[in-house]
Amino acid sequence: MSVLDVVTQTRNKLRDVKFFVPFASASLAFVVGAIILGATGVDVGKAYTIMFEGAFGSAFGFGDVLLKTTSLLLTGLAVSVAFRCKQWNIGAEGQLYMGALGGTLVGISVVGLIPGLAIFLGIILSFIFGAVFALVPAVLKVKFGVNEVISTVLLNFVAFLFISFLLHGPIKAPGFNPYSPEIGNASQMPIIFPGTRLHAGIIVAALATVGVYYLWKTKIGFEIKSVGANIKAARYAGMNITKSVLVTLAISGGLAGIAGGMLVSGVQHVLIEGISPGYGFIAVIIALLGRQHPIGVAIVAFFFSVLMTGSETMYRSLGVPSAFSMTLQALVLVFVLVGQLFVVWLGKRKVGGAR
């Protein structure tokens, strides 16, 4: 797609009213959120200003926003790849944990001390662990026709429990906490903004976004995209459905795995039980709202990170319960979903069905 084409496409996209509906819906969600906030007796104006101040006000705050974006973007991409091929992968959270395990194993091994190689190998192993764990539901679906929605949801909990078992036994570090030993400092992601917690993981996430963008330009990417878009046409064109399903879920699991690896090597430097506050589940929402386009996913991931960081600040300074951020995220999702259907309904009415 030449630059000219991209420009024309975005230009008429902007003109097209469809582009504004998601933002209108999101603002509607904030209005309802304000009503609820008001009910808790908090000064809404102040709350929302603190929220945005928390996210953008300080370098530290913005660093945290980008930190969360790293995790949400990687898991969001993972789920969007799966959704693009109509494989409903709701297991990103479990795959994230397995990836974190992979990254940790490299970190605490002797390799974890070799600068450069440690981080590189850490990412690779996180990808592999996440991918292999995602292959379980893939094989179950391809060979036994097991609905992947159910198997991926359940495997999340199997992953949590498995990691918890490891942390209380085999890989527990000596000493007080049920944590893994600290990873070698060669495998700790360098902080790229001094004074904040933002580590180089954001670059990995950016690379992943570009990677996924170009994935759809590759041979296998085209096959996956086609199987997702119209499985009958794909089968007639001679595409291998089984291979596509396996490759899609492997890539999806792998990306979620990297998110886990980043959490260990960039943030915690040890593997602990509650390492992800549910990034894998929110990723499903991000993939759906980002309409499975890498750039769309990035924008929505950033938006949700602002939301989460902002609510943390609101909680710290105004005591607004953290449950509010969860409610707000749910409201945004509900309103945007309604908005999307509104657009489709609009489309039908205006164009009157071209074909």
């Binding site: 603002s27 209005v31 007796g41 300080s58 007080f176 049920p178 915690q268 602990i272 509650g274």
Partner: protein
């Protein structure tokens, strides 16, 4: 069609404006806490819930006390997820707080990490075991308190079984239960102590089921250190009409006729001491290990005490109260040592034969089992272990007395005498890696003579035991 949408978004904006203005007028101040107050900015942060009626609630009340007493404004943050601990500390340090009270041992390492980047923020970690120039820890000797609970339980149990429920196998919780076991065993060596770990601090349903299972297994004293899950344990005891011990706060209010007493952490005193350190900028970055205090707010730096028996006072016989008082004093005067144990221990025992006389030696260990014990008369007793680790042995005085040195192979091993009574003394030592046997020598070890001499000795022994039994009865001590 586009106009329709424009109208919709305009409506949304107007609605928001109306809302905001109405809020400003009403603006009740239920939660918002203004930023003013004295120049000192204090924050209390914890991973627990303030509404758990125990661990979290005690910290909240103590911090509220600081507010009323000194007029400082305290910012509260509860149920912080473990992975967000470091971020929260950094955010408060970033906001320029002078003193952060981090409530929970999980906050130790992150506090040191954040402390490096924010030198002028003082962090006090309650039940932490870390220290740096601007981070101090208060690690109360909780096991000394639970030692007394164990003793009390052992004295009053009818079924001979005590039970404990832990939120999770965290080392400082294991330490609490090991103290509990030591107290129980000291009073009633053949006591049975069963334990359950829930793996969940916020699940009263699970706590209740665990408690009921223990009661079904014969326990008539339940002890919990499990925050909100602990409520379930107390409910189980209440349902089955057995006694329960509370944790961190006097929890008899939860079930007045079930909670006999609780081991209480005098956090008001601890937080106050921490604040004074900062106010008079005499901040010392070290680990404070306050132990037992006779009662709440008593002098001295102890902050652990047993709550009064409240309504159940009549149920506790006078001699038990006396014994409890005596034990409390013994611990304060370091006559009885209640060491820190951060690994779960299991009972070990061995029999040593000398001539026709066999002696049983009991103890607890976090690792190895005793393979064999041999007495070389007059000099020492030799023990073979299958694994290294922390070992505690109760040696009957009739076998060895006046312990002088403990040697592993040729290296001398440092040991502590935890407690000694007329009939036995308990010593604690660490069997170093790589060695599997230890030799304990003492001033008087059972001499070993020829068979003839043995008979004479036996007669002598009978006399000695007679005297001991007579004296023993006086002290109502258990049989050897």
């Amino acid at each position: 069609m586009k106009s329709y949408l424009k109208k919709a978004s305009v409506v949304a904006v107007i609605a928001a404006l109306v809302l905001v203005s109405s809020m400003a007028i009403v603006a009740p101040l239920q939660i918002a806490n203004a930023q003013g107050g004295k120049q000192l900015k204090i924050a209390l942060v914890t991973d627990a819930l303030f509404s758990d009626g125990g661990w979290g609630a005690a910290a909240h009340d103590a911090a509220k006390l600081l507010e009323t007493k000194y007029g400082y404004q305290v910012a509260y943050a509860e149920s912080i997820a473990i992975p967000d601990i470091e971020a929260t500390l950094r955010q408060y340090a970033q906001d320029g707080y002078d003193l952060i009270i981090a409530h929970g041992f999980q906050w130790g390492d992150p506090a040191v990490k954040v402390g490096k980047d924010y030198p002028n923020t003082k962090i006090v970690v309650f039940t932490g075991l870390v220290s740096s120039n601007n981070v101090a820890s208060i690690f109360p000797m909780q096991q000394e308190g639970t030692f007394l609970l164990g003793a009390l339980g052992a004295m009053m149990t009818k079924t001979g079984t005590l039970a404990y429920v832990g939120g999770d196998q965290y080392p400082n919780i294991i330490n609490i239960f090991e103290g509990y076991k030591q107290g129980a065993k000291l009073v009633k060596p053949d006591i049975k102590v069963i334990g359950t770990y829930l793996g969940d601090f916020d699940n009263p349903a699970k706590g209740k089921e665990a408690g009921l299972a223990q009661i079904n297994n014969g326990a008539d004293f339940l002890f919990h250190v499990a925050d909100t899950s602990g409520h379930g344990v107390i409910q189980a005891a209440k349902e089955k009409k057995v006694y329960a011990f509370g944790a961190v706060l006097d929890q008899s209010a939860l079930a007045p006729d079930t909670v006999l007493t609780s081991f209480v952490l005098d956090m008001d005193k601890a937080f106050d001491q921490a604040l004074q350190m900062v106010v008079q900028n005499k901040f010392e970055g070290k680990i404070f290990k306050p132990g037992i205090e006779v009662g709440k707010g008593a002098s001295g730096d102890g902050i652990v005490y047993l709550a009064p028996f409240n309504q159940l006072d009549s149920k506790v016989p006078a001699d038990v109260k006396a014994k409890l008082q005596e034990l409390t004093q013994a611990v304060i005067d370091k006559k009885i040592l209640v060491p820190e144990r951060i690994k779960t221990t299991s009972d070990i025992s061995a029999t040593a034969k000398l001539g026709d006389q066999t002696y049983t030696i009991t103890g607890i260990s976090s690792g190895g089992k005793i393979n064999s014990a041999t007495i070389n008369s007059g000099k020492s007793i030799k023990f073979e272990f299958d694994k290294a680790g922390d070992i505690e042995l109760t040696l009957p005085k009739s076998v060895i007395d006046g312990i002088t040195v403990v040697k592993a192979g040729d290296k001398t091993v440092e040991f502590q005498e935890i407690s000694s009574s007329d009939s036995a003394s308990t010593i604690k030592f660490v069997l170093p890696e790589g060695s599997s046997s230890v030799e304990i020598s003492g001033t008087t070890v059972v001499p070993e003579f020829g068979t003839l001499v043995a008979i004479v000795l036996a007669a002598l022994l009978v006399g000695v035991i007679g005297i001991v039994r007579f004296k023993g009865a006086l002290l109502n001590l258990g049989r050897p």
